[in-house]
């Protein structure tokens, strides 16, 4: 346990010292929530903008932490031989993966708490939220995005991985139903979006906060498939150095 906690502390400390990661996992989701929650530019009909935004911002937070933050950090740890050096200690792969997973979960809980507090202050109606569904969707999203992040981190050079993660983040932010509803996308893009984890996570989270969602149970099925396949693929292709 002491070994696991030591590695977890290191993971959190390293993440906290990385300014780019803080920007990604805290500042961007909050800035988008505050901006689009207060500026009436989203086509949300008679629904309050904040009610539309909260599930999408939670999805964005999950994607930022589980995919981009984890993926970029792991890519650089490969390049700097940090993973290799840890591999020569009694830590072991399973405790390393567990420590990284716990770090992601802790940060997501902090993100979720911060998003809830800010959203409530902006008038979000929390009453219809089914927390079990929300946590379940976030957990599936975490597995799916962590798998995607580690596939890139485990195969690409750190700088290429950095660019790829940021590019994928931007693409999924725009097409993942987080800020702009997937139904507003052009036909082929909507079809593509519907097959990817981001839009399905956002949709599942919409259902968790009491909205109807666009995809019904298929969002959960597709998200669960990503949550299964992406980590398995990552485990298969990941190179430790």
């Amino acid at each position: 346990m002491a070994v696991l906690m030591a590695q977890l502390r290191t993971e959190l400390r390293v993440m906290a010292r990385n300014g780019e990661q803080l920007l990604l996992i805290v500042i961007i989701p909050m800035a988008l929530l505050l901006f689009f929650g207060n500026v009436d530019v989203l086509p949300t009909a008679d629904q309050p903008a904040v009610d539309f935004l909260v599930p999408g911002i939670i999805a964005l937070a999950v994607m930022s932490t589980a995919m981009v933050s984890l993926g970029i950090a792991t890519g650089f740890e490969r390049q700097y031989l940090v993973l290799k050096r840890l591999g020569a200690t009694p830590l072991g792969r399973s405790r390393l993966v567990l420590a990284k997973s716990l770090a992601v979960v802790i940060i997501e809980l902090v993100q979720l708490a911060a998003i809830c507090v800010v959203s409530l202050a902006m008038g979000w109606s929390i009453e219809s939220t089914t927390w079990l569904l929300l946590v379940g969707a976030a957990a599936l999203g975490t597995f799916a995005f962590a798998g995607l992040g580690l596939i890139l981190a485990g195969r690409l050079r750190a700088e290429v991985n950095l660019a790829a993660q940021n590019g994928l983040y931007l693409f999924l932010l725009l097409t993942g139903g987080m800020i702009i509803a997937s139904s507003a996308l052009p036909g082929p893009l909507e079809s593509l979006s519907r097959a990817l984890p981001a839009a399905n996570l956002a949709d599942a989270l919409r259902q968790a906060v009491g909205e109807e969602g666009l995809y019904g149970s298929s969002a959960w099925v597709i998200l669960a498939a990503w949550a299964l396949v992406a980590p398995l693929a990552a485990a298969r292709v990941f190179r430790w150095e």
Binding site: A2, V3, A6, Q7, R9, T10, R13, V14, R17, N18, F76, E77, Y80, L81, V82, K84, R85, L86, G87, A88, T89, P90, L91, G92, E241
Partner: protein, 301 residues
């Protein structure tokens, strides 16, 4: 080298390949507990590949390796508790501070080593709040060595430990290596730096293209000899055929090497005189490791 049963490391017929390239070709050696083996060789000679197989980072194509009696390919977890490792470079989070990195590794190894004691021993106590990325090259090397000490190792693999380190730092690293050996740790050290090797080694293994070019106790390898440098072209056979000396071309000169016996000096001087060869330099005594290394590794070029 000893053949007693106290071998911390045993390597038999090790073969490592990268695709069609053979990096290590049938290498066998052993290292005693409490001794320092220095692996020497040019780039690509197979030093790091050999060490990485012993550390469990890399699988061997063939051969048998036992570290502290365990196969590193199958018992890596057990081995990691007793093995100190210093990578050729990197291995540390750039934003991690010196003190917290040492404390982290002391906890990971759980060997009861006090972080402050390691920092004092390695001379980094004053830098404990500095991050890795702000350290000089030599300080990074010392921190990397410090992490190996956190294991209180029974065997330590040190890859280029003095690379980029200043003179005081080198002296300190040599002292730590001697202390490790004095405590019973087997130290395997790979380096390009022949002066360092002469100062640290109990035994030396010179690798050339994945094979043993020379191996043995440092004192034996450095056996005394006499070297004549002749500036006049001579037929090498006048020294080699009946007299048994070796002759090598070195630039425009010829170098005749024989034993350190007094008769050698008289004989070479006589034969050189008979062939009107001009002797420009005579040296007698223990061989420098550098001389031996260049002779052994250049002969096969």
């Amino acid at each position: 080298m000893s053949t007693s049963a106290d071998h911390a490391l045993e390597v038999h017929d090790l073969v490592v390949r990268y695709g069609k390239t053979v990096a290590v070709d049938g290498l066998s050696f052993h290292v005693r507990s409490g001794s320092v083996l220095v692996l020497l060789g040019r780039n690509g000679a197979g030093k790091t590949s050999t060490i990485e197989v012993c550390e469990g980072f890399r699988r061997a194509e063939a051969g048998r390796v036992r570290v502290l009696g365990l196969d590193p390919a199958t018992h890596r977890a057990a081995l990691n508790r007793h093995m100190g490792v210093m990578l050729q470079g990197g291995g540390i989070y750039p934003s991690a501070r010196v003190g917290e990195t040492v404390a982290h590794y002391c906890t990971l190894y759980g060997a009861g080593v006090q972080p402050n004691a390691v920092l004092e021993r390695i001379g980094l106590a004053a830098l404990r709040s500095r991050t890795w990325r702000t350290l000089s090259g030599g300080e990074k090397q010392r921190l990397s060595l410090a992490l190996a000490l956190c294991a209180r190792p029974s065997i330590a693999f040190l890859d280029e430990p003095t690379s980029g380190v200043d003179l005081d730092g080198r002296r300190e690293i040599r002292s730590i290596i001697h202390d490790l050996a004095a405590d019973g740790c087997a130290v395997v050290l790979a380096t390009h730096e022949l002066d360092e090797a002469e100062r640290c080694a109990d035994d030396v293994l010179i690798l050339d293209r994945g094979r043993v070019a020379a191996m043995g106790p440092l004192a034996t390898l450095r056996q005394p000899e006499t070297r004549f440098r002749l500036s006049t072209p001579v037929d090498p056979s006048v020294f080699t055929d009946s007299l048994g000396f070796s002759v090598q071309r070195d630039g425009e000169d010829y170098v005749v090497t024989g034993s350190a016996a007094t008769e050698t000096i008289a004989t070479v001087a006589r034969v050189a005189g008979e062939h009107q060869a001009t002797v420009v330099d005579v040296r007698a005594g223990a061989q420098r490791l550098e001389t031996l290394f260049h002779r052994l590794t250049e002969e096969t070029l």
